[in-house]
Symmetry: C2
Subunit: 195 residues, 2 copies
DNA sequence: CCAAAACATTGAACTAGGACAAGAAATACA
DNA sequence: TGTATTTCTTGTCCTAGTTCAATGTTTTGG
């Protein structure tokens, strides 16, 4: 069970790659261990990495000028985290943070190494495009849920998708992800517990 | 001013293409006029097109089992609309609709023609990947706004980004896009008018 | 092992926004 | 051109969720 087995399996889910292609992929990745509570990306900085999580948990969040903090993503095992600073709202300073919540083992692309990968093995373009589609699809579903569902429904659905997270991260982070206050999430949970 | 000038300009914004490459792109697109109030994608159907809007306005929306309707996107001139049915929530039937709100002139990819484009001119992979990044970024910003901003702020920001839409589409569609009720949007507008 | 900090719970008072209903205005279309 | 339909506004009442504050619980790290 080497350190690349998870990423190789994950990337092969939608496109099949040869052993040689996977070797090229792996050679472009940098393995890195990051202790918990490390802020990997601060506001204003350009994000110069794309990280695949082998182990651990990371949060990505925005803070607006009024201090509103919203968690946009939890990245756990076998998922990717990065910031795409293409904001259409370029004038409006929306600051993205990326922070480890647990000790993490990561595989990291720099922009250059990803480019190099595509040059040496262009078929990865397709796989990463599909990953991007999935990401967009999940984000759209979340947007829909945020608008159309009650706090209770959102939390139950969250439990479905991230059954391990309530044991792993502080509850107020989950509240922030769901777009509700920490206190109200506590009340929702009390209600669930009663039934 | 031929029918391809807009798409060629739009696609050249982030990657530069030769005349020959653009010719290949154009040859893979089908021009289609669609009258207003046409539902181009019904619930349950697989979306077999990707449409670039030359002229007109389209809405994409979800309806959940409780009848909640949420507009996910307005596609106006020079933007793309399609459905990516990669829903992680595959069990949950989230139905997507795509409907023209005005008479439209479109350029349309089928999945096959897009594949053919990538085969004949692989550099388009990159351009479409960038478009996808932008799309994801916009959706993330919307998610953040939906969670963190008041109805008033959301509407003002909407006016900033889509100044022409209030004159073009019914107000309750805008309310649905913003995730507020039509009545409340009306009250927000009354408040704005008073100042 | 203990103190400090972070986190979670609960309650009470409040508010942004929703649901409903009824009328006014605008649009569509015969 | 007039009628029907859709859209918009405004008011009243209502509720899901917020804010604040106090208390209890767990985690952290020295």
């Amino acid at each position: 069970m080497d350190r690349y087995s998870q990423i190789n399996e994950s990337i092969s889910r939608y496109v099949t790659f040869s052993k040689e292609e996977l070797d090229i992929l792996n050679s472009q990745l940098e393995y890195r261990e990051v202790p918990k509570k490390t802020i990997m990306l601060h506001e204003g900085e350009m994000c110069n990495f794309e990280a695949f999580v082998i182990k651990g948990c990371i949060r990505k969040y925005y803070i607006d000028s009024n201090g509103h903090e919203v968690i946009l993503q939890f990245a756990i095992e076998n998922s990717w985290v990065s910031d795409i600073s293409f904001s259409i709202y370029e004038d409006r300073p929306s600051h993205t943070f990326i922070e480890t919540l647990e000790d993490c083992e990561l595989l990291i692309f720099s922009p250059e190494s990803k480019e190099e990968l595509f040059k040496q093995a262009p078929r990865f373009e397709r796989a990463f495009r599909i990953l991007l589609y999935r990401n967009l699809s999940v984000t759209q579903d979340r947007l829909f849920n945020t608008i159309a569902k009650t706090a209770m429904d959102k939390y139950l659905e969250f439990l479905d998708h991230y059954p391990s997270l309530p044991q792993r991260v502080a509850q107020h982070y989950i509240a922030s992800y769901l777009g509700i206050s920490a206190e109200f999430l506590s009340k929702v949970r009390a209600k669930i517990a009663k039934n």
